[in-house]
């Protein structure tokens, strides 16, 4: 006679056996009944691990602790854009887009919105550099994640989603200005960000490894570092009297 194994007894203990054969076997087999009783004693003993019951006002205490952080969460989008560096970048982007529209209609060579070419370029460099830095942080976190088993990337996805819209604007601006190196990297970055954002938020180790390999195989991190380094060099104000390349 084949006896029930421990796994079958565990399922039986938790009421997850829907096979009448197990019950029938237990009725006729003293050895398996004894084994089940022994298992049940250990599992019943686990009930001795009591969780302390928090005070009635515990929920209210949790609320008061997290409420300020919820406000920060809600304001993050705005505060991010209101940071001085980002504000300058946003203003520059608006000026560039309006300028590009007007320039296209009036004159390709006319200066835009009162900003000189070198000033526009430097502001744009700062904005794109900042964007690349934040994108790089997400990708580095993903590549260096050493979790085993299921990996939750929901936090990285949320940040990737935030960056996709900005990335598109910067890519279009770079394309318009003829900066092929920057637009090409932004194009590749956009695909990676989209892939991260649209993946399931929980990946098993094989799926996560695929995402990681795609990031690494495209060399996107290396390209971001090279472009960021070039942008930083271009951010440095030129010596007086020396002309700058307009964006």
């Amino acid at each position: 006679m084949k006896h029930l194994n421990e796994d079958e007894l565990v399922l039986h203990y938790y009421g997850e056996v829907h096979d009448g054969g197990v019950e029938q076997h237990l009725q006729g087999c003293e050895a398996c009944r004894a084994n089940l009783e022994s298992l049940a004693r250990v599992l019943d003993a686990m009930d001795g691990l009591k969780a302390p019951e928090p005070a009635a006002a515990y929920g209210s205490r949790v609320w008061h602790r997290i409420a300020p952080q919820l406000a920060q969460s809600a304001e993050r989008w705005w505060t991010g854009w209101l940071a001085p560096r980002r504000l300058v970048a946003a203003a520059a982007m608006a000026a560039l887009l309006i300028g590009a529209f007007l320039a296209g209609r009036v004159s390709q060579r006319r200066q835009m919105a009162g900003l000189s070419g070198p000033v526009r370029e430097r502001i744009m460099m700062v904005a794109v550099g900042d964007h690349l830095e934040r994108s790089q942080i997400i990708l580095v976190e993903l590549v260096n994640n050493e979790s085993k088993g299921t990996v939750d990337i929901s936090e990285e996805q949320r940040r990737a989603e935030d960056l996709i819209g900005e990335n598109r604007l910067y890519r279009q601006a770079a394309l318009k200005s003829g900066d092929r190196a920057v637009s090409s990297v932004l194009d590749e970055l956009e695909r990676v960000l989209l892939e991260v954002a649209h993946s399931p938020s929980k990946l098993d180790s094989a799926e996560f490894e695929q995402v990681r390999q795609r990031i690494e195989s495209q060399g996107i991190l290396f390209k971001i570092r090279v472009v960021s380094s070039n942008l930083r060099e271009r951010e440095v104000p030129p010596p007086q009297g020396k002309a700058n390349t307009a964006l």
Partner: protein, 192 residues
């Protein structure tokens, strides 16, 4: 009249963060119990409760209403706990060689000196249970706590943790096997 979870969620999604208070106050106790069993101490459990509610708030746009808010929150709490005990384990592994960890468990169980008289007191038994749970891997502990203490069926555990139900089942089996090995002598002694 008490506001339903669904109505509170709708208000939060419409931008009313104060409506989240109803959900926090209603579900804090059950999330705390889960977090305590996962972590084994009140301080870490309280941190996890806060982390769970913050994560749920950030992800509330993704709540599709197919499960109840409580179930959805439980999944987040389970995953927060899993992340937490994984990182705690990594920190411990860096600080303590593996063979010493095994010795720690053995001595913790031995220190309970489980005579029948002593085991009659649940406080004494609890001294054995905590280190036995500590000996489980993060996934085993999470799956076991959900199955044993929270009464979640194995299929649901798999969905909550993003693994196949077969993997969830084996985590429960391995957990029970380890717990049985650690506790059976003491429990049997208490019976005789």
């Amino acid at each position: 009249m008490e506001q339903s979870d669904a109505a509170a969620v709708a208000q939060v999604r419409a931008g009313d963060s104060d409506a989240y208070r109803v959900l926090v106050e209603r579900h804090s106790h059950s999330v705390f119990r889960l977090a305590f069993r996962m972590t084994g101490n009140e301080h870490d459990a309280e941190d996890l409760v806060q982390e769970t509610f913050l994560r749920a708030y950030r992800q509330i746009g993704r709540f599709d209403g197919r499960a109840s808010f409580g179930t959805w929150l439980y999944r987040i709490a389970a995953n927060c706990s899993l992340d937490f005990i994984r990182s705690r384990q990594r920190r411990r592994e860096q600080q303590t060689p593996v063979d010493e960890q095994g010795q720690e468990l053995e001595s913790a169980v031995a220190a309970g000196d489980p005579t029948p008289d002593r085991l009659a007191f649940s406080g004494e038994l609890q001294q054995l249970l905590a280190p036995a749970l500590e000996s489980l891997s993060p996934m085993e502990r999470t799956a076991f706590v959900l199955r044993h203490y929270e009464g979640v069926c194995i299929e649901e555990i798999g969905k909550a943790l993003g693994v196949h139900s077969g993997a969830a089942k084996h985590s429960v089996f391995r957990a029970v096997q380890k717990l049985r090995k650690a506790l059976e002598p003491a429990v049997s002694a208490a019976k005789s």
